[in-house]
């Protein structure tokens, strides 16, 4: 135990970190590792790898991820902002490079290989983008003559264009939703909301007509006809698991679900550990989102407020899209389940998100002081 009297960085961290966040993040990572034993051997065998190939890789990414998360949580909000700016610039540059030099996987140029390691820069772009947008919105709120909102819109345009160019519609939707949520929070006028909302809807319609695979997926979701193998097997897995699950290692449908270790890990979890377990998992995600928003609610600093809200929004919406697809509430869309799914870039990037959240939700003396001062003001300064 670290003494409260100590004033070193470790002690500071220990006494100021939001331990609920830290615990749930680590819990989710643990669950993800556990589920990788259930989900990935079948996938590995299917593509003729040794059964525990993905489990080992998962573990190999878990430790650096954990270190990254904890390391980032030591940062002050100012350092977070700087890290984010650098990360955003680097990842945008890499996304641009990926467009021209990246290897094409399943018809999309999302990956870039650096020193033998494949990286999906758009994953790292997300938390950085959120933090930078939060900064721009907060600057605008602080000084309305600074065109922070305009910059944020331009930045969103750049990011959106890069994502659509890949193309990666899932990330585009996620990024748009997070950005829209932050803008909404930052006090977007209702007229703009309607305008942007209809623009977003128009974007959906455009995507439907421009990208045949999007049209196919939406059609299949709406009509239930065509090749619905993925979602059908996912549904079968969940219902087969029922309330209490078939038991660890007892899953059968998991063997045939495509992407069981990434996009459909939730269904695998349901088959082996049951729907009650999945409900607990959903509750953990809901807890993280609501706790983050509660932090934002209490926060005095606009940058911290927008950043924390934006980051948990990203976390929450990503989890909802993933689970929604698994539960056939949304059209099929590749999206990892944060901290649970296998995937090097996405896992490290989510650790960055978690690290940022932890860093921004630490108890800070100035925050406490401000709270007290407001309290005093409200009380009225006693006459002397």
């Amino acid at each position: 135990m670290v003494s409260r009297a100590e004033r070193g960085p470790i002690a500071d961290w220990f006494w100021t970190i939001d331990r609920f966040f830290l615990a749930t993040f680590i819990l989710l990572m643990g669950i993800g590792f556990m589920l990788s034993f259930a989900a990935s051997p079948a996938v590995a065998q299917r593509i003729n790898l040794e059964p525990f190939f993905f489990v080992k890789r998962h573990a190999a990414f878990l430790l650096p991820g954990l270190a990254l998360m904890v390391g980032l949580s030591f940062q002050t909000p100012r350092q977070v902002r700087r890290t984010a700016i650098i990360l955003l610039l680097v990842s945008l540059a890499m996304m641009l490079l990926a467009l021209f030099f990246g290897q094409e996987v399943k018809g999309a140029r999302r990956w870039i290989t650096l020193a033998g390691i494949s990286i999906q820069p758009s994953e790292f772009m997300k938390p950085a983008f959120v933090v930078v947008c939060a900064w721009l919105f907060s600057e605008h709120a602080r000084q309305p003559e600074i065109p922070g909102n305009l910059f944020a819109i331009i930045l969103f345009g750049i990011v959106g264009a890069l994502l659509v160019a890949q193309p990666d519609l899932g990330q585009t939707i996620l990024t748009s939703a997070v950005w829209g949520g932050m803008f909404f929070m930052a006090g977007m006028p209702w007229l703009w909301i309607i305008l942007l909302g209809s623009l977003g809807a128009g974007g959906f319609v455009a995507a439907y007509y421009v990208f045949p695979h999007v049209a196919g997926r939406v059609d299949r979701f709406l009509t239930g006809e065509g090749d619905t193998f993925q979602v059908d097997t996912a549904r079968e897995a969940i219902i087969r698991g029922n309330w209490y699950g078939q038991g660890p290692g007892e899953g059968v449908v998991k063997r045939i679900i495509p992407d069981a270790h990434t996009d459909f890990i939730f269904s695998v979890a349901a088959e082996e550990f049951g729907i009650l377990f999945c409900m607990a998992l959903v509750a953990i995600f809901a807890f993280i989102v609501l706790r983050g928003l509660r932090h934002a609610f209490r926060e005095q600093n606009d940058f911290n407020r927008f950043a924390v809200a934006g980051l948990v929004l990203q976390f929450g919406i990503q989890s909802m899209i993933n689970i929604g697809v698994n539960l056939q509430l949304l059209p099929a869309k590749g999206m990892t389940l944060p901290l649970i799914s296998y995937g090097g870039s996405s896992m490290l990037a989510i650790c960055v998100t978690a690290g940022f959240i932890l860093a921004l939700t630490r108890h800070r003396p100035e925050k406490r002081a401000l709270e007290r001062s407001l309290f005093r003001v409200a009380q009225g300064v006693p006459a002397e």
Partner: protein, 577 residues
């Protein structure tokens, strides 16, 4: 102290708003407004998230309450478990019952390695169709049967292989403890335990199959179905028929024991038959049920009906005589007598000598229309109504001319089933009531409700006399059983081969009733194309069908509850030792 802290607060506030060049008060105002707006929007967002997660939770609950069988590509277990009722004989002996087995299925879309799966399965089931199975497992279908009704040992071995994507469904398999004993009556089921022949099919027709089709099958034991069959009598009848077929080198043999007062069939067999536990033999051509599904020209046994008709019409009395001195020539055909007496014969003489000429003259006296009408009334020309699905429709000439009436009078020109011949004969023995045959238990009262009076009781008395005389003095001597008064009529019909009557292919029958003084049962035995038992011996009905009836009666009378009568006047002898 407090003053100092307040200064610090102000300082920190100033630091916070550094860069703001507005008046501090105004700035505070906008900022507060902004903050409260942000807070209210945060609350909106929180509620949105709560709602979204609520939807996810609701969906999970919805999935949770969905029965796993609904999504499963495998049909629900209960549909396959369809029970059938046991079938019992009239004394409660089991004729058919359900045995639990398992069947092997695959969900091909879940098979990981088809080659391996087929190889492993082949190690347990060496007779597996490897190519076909490979095809099945490579398909994208969700369900395929691989092997129905495995033994428990096979199931264990396959389980031990641990092949993913295959499974077992419990099923019911029909088992017939008696094997072929009553095969043509009970019938059999298909692999899905649906009745496809005999009483099994009849049971399905009573609503069981309809229930199964809508999934309303149950695993619960059903009320057994009791038949009118007496397994002991059935077994004896079949045994005697098998022996007769063998002894007389016949193509086939058949027999029926019918209760004349209720119309219940106590035993019915047709040899060759098949084992319903392995119903593939049922499809072999000779294994048909000749008694109800085969039609034959019954030959001289039909003279029973001609005589009864003549007596019933009132135009002929037992004491009347007919000219049988010469053959009848009509329309280019000449009618001979087999045992020609070349004299004027009385009615009983015509019957016991089986005179074609005499019988033809009787039919001629009655008239063509009346003849046709009488046979129709006896149910010999229309399809018999009974529970068995395998019932053939008799054939008759399109237009009855005199020649038809004459030939039909001695059993040629009309093909009918042996069973309905026995049923019509029962009407001539039970007081004149035609009772549709049944394979289910029936009381006399129930029989009376469906019975139809077809001949006068006086005709019945005359017919009993004639039947008895034919056994004591006529061609049916070999059917006599000491103690049991047997009466009957033989029939040796020439079979039609290539459109002509053949003189060396016969269809023999012996239609009998016993005890003839107070008849209870009709026993009919037919032998299809018998050969002389030993060279030089005859092959007429009197030498094969009649003795077979005698054997059946002697062995079954006690089981049928008929008391023997000994002594010259038919009373039981008092014996003391």
């Amino acid at each position: 102290m407090s003053f100092l802290s307040r200064i610090m607060v102000v300082k920190s506030k100033a630091h916070f708003s550094a860069g703001g060049n507005r008046a501090p008060g105004a700035f505070e105002g906008t900022r507060k407004k902004k903050q409260s707006q942000t807070k209210s929007r945060l609350v909106i967002m929180m509620s949105a998230f709560v709602m979204a997660y609520g939807v996810i939770g609701g969906r999970l609950v919805q999935f949770g309450v969905t029965s796993p069988e609904e999504v499963s590509s495998i049909p629900p277990a209960d549909r396959l478990m369809a029970s059938r009722p046991d079938i019992l004989d009239r004394n409660g002996e089991v004729l058919a019952t359900d045995v639990r087995t398992v069947s092997l299925y695959a969900e091909p879309h879940k098979i990981v390695d088809v080659d391996e799966a087929v190889e492993l399965l082949n190690s347990v089931l060496p007779d597996l169709d490897v190519k076909g199975t490979y095809k099945k497992l490579s398909s994208k279908s969700h369900f395929q049967w691989l092997r129905r009704q495995l033994t428990p040992k096979q199931q264990n071995q396959i389980l031990a292989l641990g092949i993913p994507g295959i499974g077992f469904r419990p099923e019911k398999r029909r088992f017939y403890p008696g094997g072929p004993t009553a095969s043509h009556i009970i019938g059999h089921v298909n692999i899905d335990n649906r009745g496809i022949a005999g009483m099994e099919k009849y049971i399905d027709g009573q609503g069981l199959a309809d229930l199964a089709a809508v999934g309303m099958t149950s695993n619960a034991p059903l009320e057994p179905v009791r038949l009118s069959i007496d397994l002991r009598v059935q077994n004896i009848l079949r045994e005697e028929l098998v022996a007769a077929k063998d002894r007389y080198h016949a193509l086939a043999a058949g027999g029926v024991v019918l209760n004349i007062h209720t119309g219940e069939v106590l035993a019915m067999a047709s040899i060759p038959d098949y084992d319903p536990n392995n119903p593939v033999q049922a499809l072999e051509k000779d294994n048909m049920n000749r008694m109800s599904a085969g039609t034959f020209e019954m030959g001289s046994t039909f003279k029973t009906f001609t005589t009864a008709m003549a007596l019933d019409s009132g135009k002929v009395k037992l004491s009347d005589s007919f000219d049988a001195r010469n053959s009848i020539t009509i329309g280019g055909f000449t009618i001979h007598d087999f045992h020609a007496k070349h004299r004027i014969l009385s009615v009983p003489e015509i019957f016991i000598y089986s005179s074609n000429v005499g019988t033809a003259r009787m039919a001629d006296l009655v008239g063509i229309e009346a003849h046709k009408h009488f046979l129709t009334r006896m149910g010999l020309l229309s399809r018999m109504q009974t529970e068995l699905p395998e019932v053939a429709t008799p054939t008759q000439p399109k237009v009855w001319k005199k020649i038809n009436s004459i030939t039909i009078s001695f059993g040629h020109g009309v093909s009918t089933t042996p069973l309905q011949t026995a049923v019509a004969a029962a009407a001539l023995m039970n007081g004149g009531k035609l009772i549709p045959p049944t394979f289910l238990p029936r009381t006399e009262e129930q029989a009376d409700q469906v019975a139809e009076q077809v001949v006068k009781p006086s005709t019945v008395e005359d017919m009993k006399t004639l039947f008895r005389m034919n056994v004591t003095n006529g061609s049916g001597k070999s059917a006599e059983v000491p103690g049991f008064v047997v009466g009957g009529k033989t029939g040796t019909a020439e079979k039609v081969v290539n459109g002509r009557y053949s003189s060396d292919q016969r269809f023999n029958a012996f239609l009998s009733a016993f005890p003839i003084d107070k008849p209870e049962y009709i026993v009919l035995v037919v032998v299809d194309n018998p050969q002389p038992e030993k060279p030089g011996m005859g092959a007429t009905a009197g030498s094969n069908a009649a003795p077979t009836v005698g054997k059946v009666i002697s062995r079954t009378a006690a089981l049928l509850g008929v008391k023997p009568k000994f002594g010259p006047d038919g009373n039981a002898l008092l014996m003391s030792y």
